[in-house]
């Protein structure tokens, strides 16, 4: 699960209009925590989770963890 495929994202930060950058981000689920590279506004820290990511890889990981 990472934002590698979003590198050429058309989305920019709405607040500061900066381009998003691939950065290490902490994600938490069911008491576990791990780091993944996701597209992020380097100024405002908003992290982009696209529909494809949320309903694809992210959902797979969620389900995997829920069934552990």
């Amino acid at each position: 699960m990472n934002g590698e495929n979003e590198k050429n994202t058309p989305w920019v930060c709405g607040k500061c209009h900066n381009k998003l950058e691939l950065q290490k981000v902490k994600v938490l689920y069911l008491g576990g925590s791990f780091e993944v590279e996701l597209m992020k506004c380097p100024v405002c820290n908003y992290v982009l989770i696209t529909e494809d990511l949320a309903l694809g890889k992210m959902l797979d990981v969620e389900e995997g963890l829920e069934n552990k």
Partner: protein
């Protein structure tokens, strides 16, 4: 969870129990598989199945006395399946010469066989295959014994000799023209590790163990006619086979007795359900043998007996292609996992807990109970996937919040005095009911959360009807009103914590209201009240309608025929079934019963929260039930209607027949979305409080935001599929606009924003046109993303 008890339940399941024909066969030919191959036209495979079980299958198959035919369940439905005839055609058309096998090293021991009849040659061949050096003594000049009685009747001399050539091929020492007596036997016992005696007669009486065929404690074993059973060919063959097993165990020094209960013919525990069996005559042959077509037709008559009534009735076990015994083994395995993936979770959350399996099982095995207990255990251990039931539990939480839930006594006489004048009192039963108010609640109308969302426009009318009807029939108690959710979602989700909390609240209300009888209009509520608060008296709204007469509405008498779909939650409430049928008939409709109805009814697909946990599974139930219907359907549970209409079936709720202004349209009316359900419930509370209790609105439903949401049809569908509510979207957009927390796409001018609400992050993609916010997509995830530098 008590796993020993679980496994015990699994062991009681007889799904894998062989049919009677197989059980009674001394060599246990898999008759059903054999016949199924014939039905498919694959006679070679059918022959392979014979060969696997029957020694010298080419000969024995033709002269077997077929005890299977005597017990065939088809016997009383057109005549027993002609298994012997089928074997004959399979031998004639499906026989292939045996493949050459590599000789095994003969190092397991030496066995002497005395008597080359049916049982002796079977023992000899079986032991040879197991790796013993076998010597066979026969007093006559040929092997085969009784087989020769059938020469020129069932087969030629050449055919017999060809089959017996195996002794030469396997290099088994055959000593012909050699009679063995007591003295010779004594000599042979010294020479061999074990002896098999299959001589038919013996000079003195032998004490033979009927289970192991061992003669006393010696190395001698006896079978065939010496066992004194009967002249049955296949029994002789079977005893030879069992003797070979005993001798192998004896020489290998393992227990002679362990796990051999079902080696010979035994009684199957299977009691084939014949309720739906149609009679079919035996297919007659037109020459010596069946033709291929005749054989296929005869094979089709076979009932393929198996204990699978539960599976036949259950879309869930069908989808997962599993039987209760195997299911229980998987649960057992899943419950024992400490580290690793619980692969069975999805399956366990795909059962509707409707209870039909238990009703179909003559051993009363209830997968409903097993699965319910499993879900509770998963919750206790923290192993229940949150996503499975979270949305439904939040819906329950909403219904028990003050946005919907409320309790009121019947409006007092003082409150209602404006109605107490002529002519209102003369035409309005409701007004008369209020006039007779005693201040003590005898009844509490509890419509439930779902009906209040789908039929909110008639709840007030029903309440007024109840006040009129109950007070008219000299009942002292007033009729109060209680809005809320009974807790069924918590029960289905295995959430005993939430369930008990909910029940406690209901019981408190019940006590505060002078212990009234609850009038219930939802089958799940009826079920939950029975299960968790049996001390509370309940009656269904349908029984009230049946007993006190229908409300005075403009009902157009129906003329059509309806299939009644009983609700699975009220499977064992015959009074509900009866009242629904009485009401329907009194309205002029004709009823056509489903084969699966009343206590055998099926679930619509909502039960067990499967609708949320596995939508595809839920759809299976919907499709299955709709496929059984020949008419429009009538239901009395709001969710049943919702699912069947969604599945494209014209379905009426019993209240539609009474209250719908346009009946035709009501049968196909799209049910409210999740968001609309919330809205309808909240509005119902406000409307009832204002209209009936004269209370001012405590909440308003007016848009409190500075924008208008515009949600196209395709996004509405996404919201339903992805369990996202209108109010979730409002919160995201409001937060985005106020705090400028969003992404922007300069090309499409789309905004994309997120907001975490409780344990879910919701994302909304939208465009803005002045005050209008047009939603283009919505999605969510449960993982929490930490936004920090």
């Amino acid at each position: 969870m008590n796993l020993d008890k679980l496994l015990e339940t699994g062991n009681r399941c007889i799904h894998s129990e062989p049919p009677v024909c197989n059980a009674v066969c001394p060599v246990h030919l898999d008759v059903v598989a054999f016949i199924s191959e014939i039905e498919k036209g694959d006679l070679k495979k059918a022959y392979k199945l014979m060969e696997k079980r029957i020694p010298f299958a080419k000969l024995i198959g033709k002269i077997c006395d077929h005890p299977c035919e005597n017990v065939c369940v088809r016997k009383d439905f057109g005549g027993t399946i002609q298994i012997s005839e089928l074997e004959k055609i399979v031998i004639s058309q499906g026989y292939t010469s045996p493949k050459k096998t590599l000789p095994l090293p003969k190092n397991k021991g030496k066995v002497g066989i005395i008597g080359g009849g049916l049982s002796g040659i079977t023992t000899a061949i079986d032991l040879d295959k197991k790796g013993y050096t076998v010597s066979l003594y026969e007093k006559s000049n040929r092997l085969g014994g009784k087989i020769w009685d059938f020469e020129e009747i069932s087969f030629t001399k050449e055919e017999i000799e060809e089959e017996l050539e195996i002794f030469e091929r396997q290099k088994i020492l055959v000593v012909l023209n050699t009679a063995v007596d007591q003295n010779k036997l004594a000599e042979l016992t010294k020479e061999f590790d074990a002896i098999y005696l299959g001589t038919g007669d013996w000079e003195n009486e032998l004490k033979i163990n009927s289970d192991t065929f061992q003669v006393e404690e010696s190395s001698v074993f006896a079978g065939g006619r010496l066992l004194g059973q009967n002249e049955s060919i296949i029994t002789s063959v079977g005893s030879g086979r069992r003797a070979a097993i005993s001798i192998d165990r004896y020489i290998s020094k393992v227990s002679l007795n362990a796990s051999r209960e079902r080696e010979g013919a035994f009684k199957s525990l299977l009691e084939q359900e014949t309720r739906d069996v149609q009679s079919a005559e035996i297919v007659q042959k037109h020459s010596d043998f069946y033709t291929n077509e005749e054989a296929m037709d005869e094979a089709k008559r076979c009932l393929k007996c198996q204990s699978n009534e539960c599976i036949k009735a259950c879309s869930h076990m069908q989808r997962f292609n599993i039987s209760p015994d195997a299911y229980i083994r998987q649960i057992n395995q899943s419950e024992r996992i400490i580290l690793g993936t619980h692969y069975a979770n999805k399956m366990i959350n795909s059962c509707t807990e409707c209870g039909l399996c238990e009703e179909e099982c003559f051993l009363d095995i209830s997968m409903k109970n097993v699965i319910h207990e499993t879900r509770e255990s998963m919750v206790e251990k923290g192993k229940m996937p949150v996503s499975a039931h979270d949305f439904a539990l939040k819906d329950m939480q909403f219904s028990n919040s003050n946005r919907f839930s409320m309790v009121r006594k019947q409006p007092s006489k003082e409150q209602s005095k404006d109605l107490f004048y002529y002519p209102v009192l003369s035409y309005s039963k409701y007004a008369r009911g209020l006039y007779k108010g005693s201040g003590k609640s005898g009844y509490l109308f509890y419509p439930g959360c779902q009906l209040s969302a789908t039929h909110s426009e008639v709840i007030g009318d029903i309440y007024k009807y109840l006040v009129g009807a109950m007070k008219e029939s000299t009942i002292e108690g007033d009729v109060g009103m209680y809005l809320g959710c009974c807790g069924a979602p918590a029960d289905w989700a295995g959430r005993q914590d939430l369930m008990q909390e909910n029940i406690k609240k209901i019981k408190e209300v019940w006590k505060e209201m002078d212990q009234p009888t609850f009038i219930l209009a939802c089958s799940s509520c009826i079920n939950i009240f029975e299960k968790y608060c049996p001390e509370i008296n309940t009656v269904s709204l349908w029984e009230i309608f049946d007993k006190y007469g229908l409300p005075e509405t403009n009902i157009t008498p129906g003329r059509r025929v309806l299939n009644i779909h009983d609700a699975c939650a009220t499977r064992y409430n015959p009074e509900v079934h009866e009242s629904i049928r009485n009401i329907t008939q009194s309205l002029g409709y004709e009823i056509k019963e489903f084969a699966y109805s009343k206590e055998r009814t099926k679930c619509c697909g909502y039960g067990g929260l499967v609708y949320y946990a596995n939508k595809e599974q839920s759809n299976d139930f919907v499709k299955d039930r709709i496929s059984e219907s020949t008419e429009d359907m009538l239901v009395y549970c709001a969710m049943c209607k919702d699912l069947f209409v969604e599945g494209g079936k014209r379905t009426y709720h019993i209240l539609d027949l009474i209250y719908a202004k346009e009946l035709e349209a009501a049968g196909l009316k799209k049910m409210p979305s999740f968001s609309e359900r919330h809205h309808n419930r909240a509005k119902l509370k406000i409307d009832l409080l204002r209209e009936i209790w004269g209370e001012k609105q405590t909440m308003d439903l007016i848009n409190k935001y500075d924008f208008n949401l515009i949600i196209p049809e395709d996004v509405l569908k996404l919201m339903e599929d992805r369990h996202i509510l209108f109010e979730d979207i409002e919160s995201v957009v409001d937060n985005a606009r106020k705090k400028e927390e969003y992404f922007f796409n300069p090309e499409t001018k789309n905004y994309l924003s997120r907001l975490r609400l409780d344990n879910v992050t919701y994302w909304v993609r939208y465009e803005e046109q002045e005050k209008d916010v047009i939603i283009n997509s919505v999605y969510s995830h449960r993982m929490e993303v930490v936004e920090e530098s």
